[in-house]
Amino acid sequence: MNTVKKITLSVAIILLVLAGLSRVYDFALRHNANLKAAYVQKAKIDAEILFHGPCEPLWMISPARLDSQTHVRSYNLALSHSDFADNYLHLYFYLKHNKTPKLMFLYVTPESMDANYNTFNTYRFAAFTGDPVVDSVLKDCDPAYARWTAFPFMKYAWYSSKINFDALQGLKHYMQHRTVPYYADGYEPPTQVVWDNHLEEFIQLYPHGYNFEWNKLREKYLCKTIALARQYGIEVVLYESPVLQEALQYQPNRQEILKRIKGIADAYGIEYVQFDKMKIAASRKYFMSTLNLNIEGSRIFTDSLGRYISGRLAAH
């Protein structure tokens, strides 16, 4: 076979294999029960209350514990390191396939508005491109990636180290007919139980404190998330779990940012509930890091939250 023919054959086979692999990955990732984006679209969760946000709600709010107090089913939709755009898409997926919940608690703290904290985890949505809502968010938050999705398999190659394992696991789940995630109610108990020294490192880096930078894209997607929920008639509550008081002195513009967050809540006629007066906020004993309560602290907070929710539901 002459060289030109060989080269053409090679290019053709490569493109074909890549296109085929892309299909396989689409399928595999959609069957990975551990991926919330996939799970909420397949399972009938139909919770009454949703908890949403990044690590803080994910590691702190256990539906099992909470539901025994509120006597209502809840689901923890939160995901680690996620920003509002990430949250927005997960909410979109959830609402498309599940009964509309009554209530949604969305975690918002000054760090959430600053692009240095958390991020849009593009790879979580790679298997769902083609959906106009997903595509428009991708274009907004990871434009370089969005440009590449046209090329076969590139949407998976781009972040392959984050995706390959999940794809394989998805195939495994499919073959085992496994449809329930490892953490069925969405809550992930924190892996650490002790203080992680982030605050000490933070103080070294910013001895005079750190001023949060309000990011417009974050604001946009916070508003879109609220608006999406409202569109479905969900009652949205923005909330902030206890923050270690000791760390507050290193956040000079905290009050200013909180005011702006409150401003957004007011604009949508919703509440911003802060649990900052809780006694546990004073002691490191209950924290893993400035914003994350440890197991003991989480239990106390969850009970408090449970009482709050019960009271709220009773009042309505």
């Binding site: 294999v17 240095n116 985890n121 984050k162 982030h198 914003l291």
Partner: protein
């Protein structure tokens, strides 16, 4: 442009095609234009630097034959350029190690692309002209192309005038050369994206966040750095040689299976060959020749001078000095134990001797690389202290796997084991792979396998968007 970016790939494709279509006599001007554009795209300072230093060297060379003062001036000018740019680079805020333009740390920045390399070429050129061994170039264009040739401007290989100049305007581009060049380039891309870049996070973790690591983890990190460096630099070299070949130029090899060297002297015959050839020809031999009556002492002085200058060339700082010092010690040791080792190698268990040698050399080089890679003396000393205290990990998962895999989750382990597997597999079958990469025939299986593996396992984005502050 970094080599594994789309814009660079397009640039190469376009350049190769146009170069192929142009008649022979226009090619060098075209390539010069492309090279200067490439450099200018990186930054303006680099473009100015290459133009200015080549121009000075050019004019000096017109009158340098037999003129010692002018010769010394020319050397000093180019040497000063290297030191000034290295020093300037070193004192920028946040010293980041960057040996090749394809850097190890996301934030590193080179002021004048390739200056360290073409300054050496200029010195070689002036030396050859001064001693009457080479005629000074009539056209500035040729000298400029010699320095700015884009496949090799970033990080070499360092070419001597007699190796490069005769190829200008006399290169034939045949189908065999195009295919060989392509095969070679593809190999380089594979080495960089599938192996070097996959190992980078582990190395970054151990070297830049490894204050509390146990000895075994630190050792593994040092090993992995040596391997990462090899795949990164030899991958770059493969890409450079591949592109050059497609443009009709044969560049010098830089590597010859260096991790299979069973002595440090052998290592230096197989690692960064073009650089060592330069140092051997312009530092080691001239010095030791003059002092040859002192026999072994002359060789010792030669080793000292060569590696001290090499250390400075690589970077200003105590860590580079210590790296050079390690190799000085190794080589002097080998010089004085040559007969003993030569005798050992002739014993029946030659294979054992060789394997032991390879193991020892790998450890010696990795140890010296701790200095090479550490950003500061304090972090290097910390790592070495860790190496010799508390060697075994208290918990295999938490103290060995997690730091290296940069995370304790299954996905991190999975990725890490794949990286190790690819690196180890490649090193075992490297001879065969190299044969495929240098083949003049297009291989369907080789090409398809490389490309698919690059897509499946290669690192496309450096994932920095997922590095965040989490409170």
């Amino acid at each position: 442009m970094i080599f594994n970016s789309l814009i660079f790939l397009c640039f190469v494709v376009v350049t190769v095609i146009i170069n192929h279509l142009l008649p022979q006599r226009f090619r060098s001007v075209f390539l010069l234009f492309c090279s200067l554009s490439f450099i200018g795209y990186y930054n303006l300072e680099s473009l100015v630097a290459v133009l200015v230093f080549s121009l000075f060297t050019f004019y000096i060379s017109r009158n340098v034959r037999g003129n010692r003062v002018l010769y010394v001036a020319g050397i000093l000018l180019n040497a000063y350029a290297v030191i000034m740019f290295n020093y300037f680079f070193a004192t920028r805020e946040g010293f980041d190690f960057s040996y090749t333009a394809i850097s190890f740390n996301i934030n590193s920045f080179i002021i004048a692309l390739g200056l360290s390399f073409y300054a050496l070429q200029n010195i070689a050129y002036l030396t050859e002209v001064y001693f009457g061994r080479w005629q000074p170039e009539i056209s500035y264009k040729n000298l400029l192309l010699y320095n700015s040739f884009f496949p090799k401007v970033a990080s070499g290989p360092v070419m001597l005038p007699r190796e490069f100049m005769p190829q200008i305007d006399r290169n034939a581009i045949t189908q065999e050369r195009l295919i060989t060049g392509f095969n070679r380039f593809l190999l380089g891309l594979f080495k960089k994206m599938v192996i070097a870049d996959r190992l980078a996070p582990a190395v970054h973790s151990v070297f830049d966040f490894g204050d509390a690591n146990c000895g075994l983890t630190t050792l593994a990190g040092a090993y992995l750095f040596t391997i990462q460096l090899y795949f990164d630099f030899s991958g770059y070299t493969d890409m450079a040689l591949g592109i050059a070949k497609m443009l009709g130029y044969d560049l010098k090899e830089n590597f010859n299976l260096p991790l299979r060297a069973s002595s440090v002297s052998e290592f230096w015959r197989r690692w960064h060959i073009s650089l060592i050839s330069w140092f051997t020809a312009y530092v080691y031999y001239p010095l030791v020749y003059r002092l040859r009556s002192y026999k072994k002492a002359a060789a010792v002085l030669g080793i000292l001078a060569t590696f001290l200058i090499s250390g400075i060339w690589h970077g200003i700082g105590i860590t580079f000095f210590l790296w050079a010092f390690c190799h000085i010690v190794y080589l002097i040791f080998e010089l004085f134990t040559k007969r003993l080792r030569s005798g050992l190698s002739e014993k029946p268990s030659y294979l054992f001797y060789r394997l032991a040698g390879i193991f020892i050399v790998f450890n010696a080089v990795s140890f010296s690389n701790i200095f090479f890679r550490s950003g500061s003396l304090s972090s290097a000393s910390l790592m070495i202290r860790n190496l010799f205290s508390g060697f075994l990990p208290a918990s295999w998962l938490r103290d060995f796997v997690a730091p290296l895999a940069v995370g304790g989750h299954q996905v991190d382990e999975f990725n890490f084991y794949i990286s190790i597997f690819m690196a180890a597999g490649f090193l075992l079958f490297e001879k065969t792979i190299n044969r495929l990469a240098n083949s003049e025939a297009f291989s369907f299986y080789y090409t398809t396998a490389c490309v698919l593996l690059i897509f499946l396992l290669g690192i496309f984005s450096n994932g920095e968007r997922f590095i965040y502050m989490q409170f």
